[in-house]
Symmetry: C2
Subunit: 322 residues, 2 copies
């Protein structure tokens, strides 16, 4: 079933061997043949990790805060995985990650694994790919996985929705302060952090957040939800870690939510695999190229072309391998 | 083929009848049965509009700037559609749009159509949905369509990539100024706008952008690429409109890029339709529910479940109707 290379990598990852772990993640992320079987083999070793989602607008200091949190959790005896979902540009590509690795002290680094997700053309979908990588880290014994996403886009929301605890990082002086919170984030956030709290306006941002929370009338558990931190000085980080630990201990999810999440994941995995097969099938198929040429010269349109190509596919065989 | 309601709506939209236009967009956006045929009927009426993508981080003033641009283009004789891709939260839902409609003066509003995209659970994919709505506006005679996206997520990048001209809005004092530009945006942006230019630091942001552009060594056309504006006072907006007009006139795309874009669109339409059919097929199918229960109690995993359900689908019939 699972070939020798995959087997060695899965075993190495479960033994928390960093090189095997990194290679396994790369192969799973790029959907190399056999990745599903590798995940099947890993799966029984997962389920212990708590997933912490960190989001917020660019420049809010999410990465520095994630580093502080990681160091703090390590000091409390945890092993911490960090997944940075940061679409790289030709201008920033990877620099951030390099800096972070250099900055981290040796004592911490043994218990921390940082991984940056490639977001461009993510074959399995960004949210599913992140979920897969989090599971690999879970199997490798990282009992706390921080998933850090830049921005407030739809994919990012999907990603943090998969976390057990979701934290939104705000910062004083950024636009209207709370405008960054608009993007569907309020309703999925468990905790709000006003970072760079030494700056002017931190209290106002906190007050704005509390105002919005009061409006929502949604305070299911009575726990504190708004925190101020300075990732640079470390102020407020301990209190935040306490709060995160308390919430993480309250996981797992309700049975209904867990079922719904699994159902959605199975459907997404199926859809992605079918999409992959359709592309393989149509690659180099003259009908697709002809249809595209017909669109460009005005003899057809994308909607008609999709409809007739789909009819041509006639029957789409199942089966795991193609 | 196309039922009477759809026919009436398509006709009404092509006549720029606002109510028909709004209803048609809603039905296309929610993928009501027959939407593909409606788009097929509309398609021959499209192709005149230029698409302008506006992106940038939250709080950069994109909406105000889009309003200014719309007013300016209307004054120059254009009809302008605005598509606001703004994931709404329970706290902001639609308020923005209402405000904008109230603010707009009557003379302008006759030539402007504003539409907010629902981003949650967008069945056809957010990027494709936005493309479809832009086409409907095109068919209705809006010869300039501004697509405004909040944030810098992956979906947002996909959306603006479909535009003919892409503009990134920055603002002084937001994080590191250029940090908001990291997210894969630099390479797809044609123009950079430093908005709120009356604030301290605007010149520094402009210098940072010029520095990055110089580094990229990529100046294919020699046109000015960096602008300062104040959406509040209107300063700089006319020069920006000039620049946008110049660039829009340089469209259309190279033949290769146009072919690639059509190819990708056809594949995405096919994938989405197959995904929809898979979901319809599996809805209420006991096998999916059983697989999900097995995952929850540890007898299976999502990867195995997806694999075996896919094998069960055995043959996937094509054909447009189901």
């Amino acid at each position: 079933m699972l070939d020798e290379t995959w087997q060695r990598l899965v075993q190495g990852a479960c033994d928390a061997e960093p090189r095997a772990l990194a290679r396994l993640i790369s192969r799973v992320e790029s959907r190399e043949a056999g990745w599903q079987q590798a995940m099947q083999a890993l799966y029984p070793h997962t389920g212990r990790a708590r997933i912490l989602g960190i989001t917020g607008s660019p420049g809010a200091g999410k990465s520095s805060l994630a580093d502080r949190l990681a160091a703090g959790f390590v000091a409390r005896g945890h092993r911490v995985g960090i997944i940075a979902v940061d679409p790289s540009s030709p201008f920033s590509g990877g620099a951030l990650l390099g800096d972070r690795l250099r900055m981290r002290d040796a004592a911490t680094s043994a218990a921390v694994f940082i991984r940056s997700m490639a977001t461009r053309g993510s074959l399995g979908g960004l949210a599913q790919g992140t979920r897969d990588v989090a599971r690999v880290l879970d199997a490798a014994g990282y009992d706390l996985v921080l998933i850090e996403t830049v921005g407030v886009g739809q994919d990012e929301i999907e990603i943090v929705k998969a976390a057990d605890v979701v934290m939104v990082v705000c910062v004083p002086g950024q636009g209207d302060g709370v405008q960054a919170l608009k993007a569907g984030i309020m309703e999925i956030a468990d905790l709000f952090v006003v970072n760079k709290a030494d700056r002017d306006g931190a209290d106002r941002v906190e007050a704005d957040i509390r105002g919005m929370l009061a409006l929502s009338g949604d305070d299911p558990d009575g726990l504190e939800r708004v925190f101020q931190t300075s990732a640079v000085s470390g102020a407020g980080v301990d209190a935040l870690i306490d709060a995160l630990s308390t919430r993480a201990a309250r996981v797992p999810l309700s049975a209904d939510r867990a079922l719904e999440r699994s159902r959605e994941e199975v459907l997404v995995l199926m859809e992605r695999e079918i999409a992959r097969r359709v592309r393989v099938r149509l690659e180099g198929d003259g009908r697709l190229e002809e249809a595209v040429r017909n669109i460009r010269c005005g003899r057809s349109d994308p909607y008609s072309a999709a409809e007739s190509l789909l009819a041509d596919l006639a029957s789409f065989e199942g089966g795991a391998h193609e």
